[in-house]
Amino acid sequence: MTMAANFGRYFLFILRREKIMSSVWIVSLVFFSALLAAVYPGLFPSEAALQSMAVTMNTPAMVALMGPVYGLEELTPAIAMAQECLIWFALAVIIMNIFFISRHTRLDEERGRFEMLVSLPVGRLTNSVSAIASAFLINLIIAVLIALSCIVIPMDGSTAAGGLAYGLSVGMQGFVFAAVALLAAQLFSTGRSCVGVSFAVMGVSYVMRAQGDVAGSVLSVLSPMGWGLQVEAFYGNDFGPVIGLFIEGVIIAAIALIINLRRDIGMGVFPARKGRARASRFLLSPFGLAWRLSRGSFLAWAAGILMIGLTYGAVVGELERFVEGNDIMKRMVEGGNAAASLVDAFIAMLNNIMSILIAIPLVNTVHRLVAEEKRGRMEPVLATAAPRHRMFGSYIIIALMESVVFSVLGAIGLYLTSASTGLVTLEVLMKAALFYLPALFVMIALSALLAGWVPRFSAAIWAVFAYSFLMLYFGRILDAPEYMVKITPFGHIPQIPVQEISVMPPAILCILAIILIAAGFLGYQRRDSGR
């Protein structure tokens, strides 16, 4: 085995490099799995609650989103949890695997770290074999710990076999995509394209599964994600898909290794695309640069928010059944608005949550101003005739624009999947979403203020974010006092369509935002720039 010489040491070396990163992944995944196992029984206090949830889950939109429904005749909270959560765990683990493999293969090669390692007495395949082996080990650890969390925490319908089917399905889906990423790493010559192509495969696999699950066709089994769901955890406990996925992963990894043997270090099977030798006209201004650096994140978030809108819109028609007999859900949706219709209350709650979610990319955009500075890329820009105020202004304008676009997209998404119920109008949805803009402006403005005066503490905005999130999300469940919600920027927004439209609070928030942005601007004009 000279091709994988020094495998053992290299394997341990990868694990050592992963000490923190993979531990964080493992701990958070297992934490959430345990949390869900603890929470699920409480969500469904009665057989009726379980049945009504199952009816909701059995609609085409929900099946497309989360996979097929099974075990209807003897539903348990464990089955409900597996149906609704397995796919999200699988997605998270797949993403982890893609980054893991890219990090240890193509990215190492691209950064030139690999060259140094290869000059040592290691085989041509040592790196790839160690990477896929350590990925397998980490997937296995996750699978076993998730299984344990389901077994240890008492939950109706939970069995050891069920827990294992649940955990192993997640782990083996991850392993297949580790192999896919390893293959992509041989084909393409940059870490970025390796990750990008693997994500594309994941996307195709998800869509194939959605199609297949809704139509009940073979497409589901052809997709690793669809096949993984067919373990029917806590019901059928079929380990066939687990074994199948393992073999699938081994075959893909083997193909990757064969290609690996035949190619030069630093090269891919497909050559790197050449970039532009000249800049397009649109890049050539402070705004053009800021936009170019924000574009990728903008597109990703736009797609994500539209998806979320579409998903929740699909629930509107099933709302009555969804909430019936479920106390926590009921309190959450209705909040202080018990008198309002359920649909109205739902829309108000949803916009509440969507708006805080939308704040994330906006804050990131403003923060890019500071991030660019910390990475030393602002220095050569400010040494040109690009005025500081235009750099500052460009990011603020992009963030403001994003806030409008994202809010509109969320509302459109909601409308598209709920229009057929006749319970909502686009006008109401738009109003409900757009009235949150002043709160988003204030979040942008607070970030701008920090970036302008105390760039070192610009992350403090996340404290505001976390507090607002807690208040908006859990405040209703925990019966938090009114003033604790009111001091967040989001607390003053009228919850349309439940509450009356009021103009004063949003107007005051807008004025506040303008003042804060102006203040941040003054700070940015006169402070030191740099690390």
């Binding site: 990475r375 890329r377 220095e379 005739a385 690009a386 005025p387 006169r526």
Partner: protein, 236 residues
């Protein structure tokens, strides 16, 4: 009027004093070498000069105007190569060069840009992510040299270049000098400074310890390297 006139420049970061009363001037049309080891205050001085950092005290005049307040206007008349060139992973070298030329606001001269690309053997179609340190430095150098400006501020521009390209760089500086341009060249390669410079400043712990024309250095019968070492070792 001096191109650069720095008078009693202080820069403090909290309790730490980086510049302790720097005095320095660069005359029009001269190549001025700015010498000192790492941490002596070279880069801090240059950053103050460019209005990236704000002086704690003292005065910096560029072309007779305030370097911080009038930064934007002044930057149309100069080009800068940072010591540590950080670029955007996703942009190609060609895009970055065009961007800097455009932001500087000087008239873009495609032939001049392409000529420098060739002289420095830089492939502009590659993403900056894939460039080595030397190649990133070349991007910044081409973006600076291709600009038609009066002053070039270069912070250790050759630290990542091979000897052949180092020679190319020296030729380029020679050409700028013939055209009557001013150059402020921070460096710790003494032979390079000795060959190119008309005058020299040596900075030590935030203070200028030698400032004078190259001829004065040579009159003393010692090379620049010996002068530099004597400032740093001999008198302490």
């Amino acid at each position: 009027m001096a191109t650069i006139q720095i008078t009693n420049l202080y820069k403090r970061f909290g309790r730490f004093t980086a510049l302790n009363g720097v005095n320095m001037s660069v005359e029009p049309g001269e190549v001025h070498a700015f010498l000192g080891p790492n941490g002596a205050g070279k880069t801090t001085t240059l950053r103050c000069l460019l209005g990236i950092l704000k002086a704690s005290d003292g005065e910096i005049k560029l072309f007779g105007r305030d370097a911080f307040r009038d930064a934007v206007d002044l930057h149309r008349r100069l080009a800068y190569v940072p010591g540590d060139v950080n670029l955007w992973d996703n942009l190609t070298g060609g895009e970055v060069i065009d961007l800097f030329l455009a932001l500087r606001g000087t008239r873009p001269d495609k032939e001049r840009r392409d000529a420098y690309l060739q002289r420095f053997e830089l492939d502009p179609t590659k993403k900056c992510r894939t460039y080595s340190k030397g190649n990133r430095q070349k991007v910044a150098l081409v973006a600076a040299l291709a600009s038609e400006v009066e002053l070039y501020v270069l912070d250790e521009p050759t630290s990542g270049l091979d000897p052949l390209l180092e020679k190319t760089f020296q030729d380029c500086i020679g050409e700028l000098k013939k055209q009557g341009k001013s150059v402020l060249l921070s460096s710790h390669i003494m032979s390079e400074a000795e060959r190119l410079a008309d005058s020299v400043s040596i900075i030590k712990e935030g203070l200028i310890v030698f400032d004078g024309p190259m001829s004065q250095v040579l009159e003393q019968g010692i090379g620049l390297e010996e002068l530099f070492l004597s400032e740093y070792e001999g008198r302490s």
